[in-house]
Subunit: 391 residues, 4 copies
């Protein structure tokens, strides 16, 4: 009530966005578009929205794109947008996983900033190459590990950094869904089809689709890297070609120990991404399905309910909020924050100034690489009876 909608005020400019993938029948493309416009920093002006040219055209028309900014091919789009006076400032890549790398390379080479969905690539080699190319090209490269955009996730990270929990001992992270509890991939569901297809999804199923989010969230909040892990991947649904559940043990560089569970067959779970972090002096608990609440338990004191933009919320979390406490923000606002951060980084470059340091919390290609290494390690460990392997 007493706080203005902070993300809405005083625009210096609106940036031009292009999109690769995300046409008719897609899910995550639409999410990216809402996220991009929510804080009014972006305008979608161009797209190669499908690898099928006709579908690309119809999808572009659906979104009222100008005909000459609707492309049937992302290479053409990169080449042409680079030359346009009002060409795109950045591109969103929201295709199935296997197509990320080629598209990203095209725009990197054109010097256009990239926002890429996760997992970054389907192989570790590709991921490393892409990171190298990004570094060399100097463009901004964000990867939408979007859950780090939630205000209280950022507060959790800051509290750990600040020592509020003391040295971290135990990390319990999980991401559980149930939408693949049956053979969803044979019902015509496009999301399920490509996510369970090794050719498009990569070597992992649930581990790549959601396990990477859990892993990223743990490393982000703890502010520490997982050095080794032991994993067992399971495929419960008959005939499925990739894992739909996985159990892991994690070792962090600092000595903290963790457990990770991801599942797409956990009946009754919708999108249960949840993390608990226990340190010498306190514990934290956060649950994506009720993201406006962070429970902080200082040792020997009653747990405290820290609510987004409410009493106890830090400046870091307030800066990522739009509306007062008690007015719930959700998944789209958290996702929007990533877009807003990237917009700030780009605007700062265009204006020759330093970006707001808070905007640098947006996940980069390096976080994307970590995700791919995680998938790779999990698959290798599982093939060796859950032996400990380096990440």
């Amino acid at each position: 009530m007493t706080i203005t909608a902070s993300q809405d005020q005083k625009l210096s400019r609106r940036l031009r966005l292009g999109m690769v993938g995300g046409g008719r029948g897609a899910f995550i493309g639409a999410v990216h578009r809402i996220a991009a416009r929510l804080d009014d920093r972006w305008e979608l002006v161009a797209g190669a929205l499908s690898s099928d040219p006709e579908r690309a055209r119809l999808s572009g028309e659906d979104l009222l794109l100008k005909p000459d900014r609707i492309y049937g091919d992302f290479n053409e789009m990169a080449r042409r947008e680079k030359r346009l006076k009002d060409g795109i400032d950045a591109v969103s890549i929201v295709t199935p996983n296997h197509a990320h790398a080629a598209a990203a390379r095209a725009f990197l080479k054109a010097g256009i900033h990239v926002i890429c969905d996760k997992p970054l690539t389907t192989t570790r080699r590709e991921a490393d190459q892409l990171a190298k190319l990004a570094r060399e090209s100097g463009v901004i490269f964000a990867v939408t590990h979007n859950y780090t955009g939630y205000p209280l996730v950022r507060q959790a990270r800051a509290m750990v950094q600040n020592g509020d929990l003391g040295a971290i001992r135990v990390v319990q992270v999980e991401y559980a869904q149930d939408w693949l509890a049956t053979r969803t991939e044979e019902t015509g569901n496009k999301q399920a089809e490509w996510r369970t297809d090794p050719a498009r999804s990569g070597p992992a199923g649930s581990v790549g689709d959601i396990g990477t989010h859990a892993f990223n969230l743990a490393e982000f909040i703890v502010g520490d890297e997982v050095t080794t892990l032991a994993a067992e991947l399971h495929t419960f649904v008959e005939g499925r070609r990739l894992d739909d559940n996985a159990h892991m043990m994690l070792r962090f560089a600092s000595g903290a120990r963790g457990q990770l569970w991801c599942s797409q067959v956990a009946t009754g779970q919708e999108n249960g991404l949840r993390i608990r972090v226990y340190g010498e002096k306190g514990g934290l608990e956060w649950n994506q399905e009720n993201p406006n609440l962070l429970v902080f338990s200082p040792l020997g004191e009653p747990p405290r309910l820290i609510r987004r933009n409410g009493a106890g919320a830090s400046d870091i979390s307030r800066a990522a909020s739009r509306i007062p406490g008690g007015h719930p923000e959700g998944y789209l606002e958290g996702f929007a924050q990533i877009y807003t951060d990237v917009a700030e980084q780009i605007a700062a470059r265009l204006e020759g100034r330093d970006p707001d340091p808070l905007s640098l919390q947006a996940p980069t290609v390096d976080h994307g690489v970590r995700g791919v290494r995680f998938i790779d390690a999990a698959v290798r460990s599982s093939a060796r009876k859950a032996a400990w392997v380096d990440v």
Copy 2:
């Protein structure tokens, strides 16, 4: 996961929006702007964002409005926009309460559709006149009783209509906050200043600011009118000029009985709008702070957790959702739904077709009038020792 972001697909057009009020330092104006653009149906192109011309100009620049569409006066704005070829399709009125009526009249007379914040006016007479004028002019007039935009609120209403609860007996509704638990109005907080000032807020404080939302929610879900009420208004904070707490008993036309509580001094409560409805065959419970959950308790069976866009969600609630269950939507998405509904109504007129019937759920001037009558009745009852008075 398996559901597309329904509000994003296939735009027929984007409508042009103007705004009155909502400049620098305002809260709800920013909310309206996010709500308007979230589903991509609207583009903000004009504004008289403050009654102070200089502030209006600066506020317009903040939002990248074109200079010739920044107005210092809403009358001028109404006159000029009416004549422009690309003039606004609708105006949002987001000033303090006392200024709603005059602004609304100006745009009604210009034949421009109106979206007005609540409470509609500060007097019952003004409200009735406005409703009459709206009817005569034939324009679309929405009032942002925004909580009716939540998908599960709409599902709750449909379940009652459908007889899932049987005849309704008891309605418990409350709206509790704590941001006025101290003399917030003397701390420089602009929201608190005008909301506790009878000249700008009208004859009621908490009753007008949030009690109206609770009342509207109850009538919306129950699908029935409150005929009489008994109310006691309280002012707990010394020196305050309007109520900051109220207790009421409600009688519905159908014979159902209710209790309403609103408070802005309920320490620890952020934005606790909550409703429980009990019928002969079942009960419902919904809480705005966790809006993705509706608890339905059929008599003699275990309560069921209906989650937005999850198992058990109806088509009506799915149509007001953007993303899959487990990916929380919040206050802004619920608010956006009202804008999306109004856009559909206007687009249908422009295209000479019937609007999607679901879009007609958006609250109209008549709901605004009910809210003003509610305030009026509560104030009158309280002045008479909580005697029963007609609404």
Copy 3:
């Protein structure tokens, strides 16, 4: 883990208990018996367990009472037990409401301590007479407003007394059930039969059965008396002779204002006794169905989760606990606390010492009188269109 089961240690003696009512088919009698033995302070040795002599005999045998301590009549029991060397120290009266007064008088006259179920009597006159008789006789007279035996209810009261909440402004109390949502009284359910029968239950239904508990809880925690109330009683189930729902507004002596709701037709509610208290400096929330948690919200700070016998639990609540935090106690333990308190009071007399002051928190005949006055006031107010009446 680190706390001993405090109620179990070091018995000085076990007291002898008799019971009136509570034979086969009864509910609350069995609860009283478990409550009495839970902390090992009492041994049940005598009973007039039914007004039907044969049923009384069989019921006594069920409980392994000695034949000569099984009575068919409570007057005979009072006379004989008074004379026995090992006669009962106290009697529990657990009959339907209308029979409390006569039984209590018999034991008061015999100088035997009394534990009586609530409501104390069915008329205000009888209640006042009983209180007078109790005062004159000098015996201990407890009334089982059992919810005050919960540790965190006692902590809540102490926090209010201690000023942790500042001056109290608003009290919201409710007690909602659904077991009378249909004509339960015609299904052979004995509990429902007498509770809906004015001859046995008194002038009120839900108000007497559960509203009194809510009222008692509010006065107990706030530490203040309700001076006047405005009530509307409803009977929703056709053919029912007493109220099954009621709405009230309360005024406390200190100036605090409250709302009370009780219902036995609130579909989906099992035993929803819940209270929220808001003061100038903080708020409290407690819910009987999850009694091991007290939420304390200091103004401007995050709410704190105070857990029974956990961090933040006060000595007063620890003294009423048996086992460590996280090991939930429930209804029976709260009820047992009343018995344990009374045992301490009696033991202190027998041992010629002062009782533990904490034991004096057990509700007395005066609280029983308050409950009867509350019922009387509610019925009078409702008969006068919810006019304000004195309690």
Copy 4:
């Protein structure tokens, strides 16, 4: 409301109980005593309450035991009670872990039924020997894996057996506390002292103290055995000699996979025993800290809140309940159920009839053996870098 307190009715007899351990300063002994008397099936008549004779005497006096039934030595107690006409029917063994075996042997040899705390013994060999001896002696031997006494835990087991969840795929079980987050064992806390001392606690700390409960709960509900596990045990508190945290992966005979976490350093957790079971057709979730609720999620339907003794509660869970839904039962009632079950088994023998089959759900020496094998396997696996080992 409509249900009698089922455990209280119609006693055929009260059994005589003796106790070994549980004197002054102990925790679990007091819990056993409350549990034994709660349902009125037992009377404590004898004890060797401490290995220190003077402490044993004082402790016996505290509990009002007759002087000649207070023993300084359990061997003497076994010998003498065996010969007494009114000797004990059963003995409770509640000493530290290392002393269980010798005491149990003494009473087994005397033909006295045994109720023993968990873990059964500190070595696998001792456990196997004890089980063999129990089988040969023919006495009833219960092990207080008390969490299986909770009504909804029994319902969960029955639902799995009944196929309500389909074939089980994933089991997530955890037991988290924080009372050993610091060097509690050096603060004079007796519980902490022996639990962190290998000589008295055995080869494991948290794994033996609480991990065994989690393991037992999982096997009980799933109705299946864990065949192999991979475990890593951690000691976070400097100087501690046993584990205070452990992570495990589990493989069930049926093919189900599980994760187990136990911790006594999870800051903010009091007694967080929680299990989630996912099958092909549905999922279940239960949390010991709110034991009156079982969440059942049938695939594709809204989750259902099954409440103890409420709508949806099965006969099996009702039989283990005392009071109606909404009147919470807790830890002591669950523990009492084990005592009540054993009483029924013994009474049936004394009366020459078959026991109520439901009473056979009480955990036996075989469950005790499983617990010891679990500890042994966990310790072995952890010593081999979390290799898979047989249980």
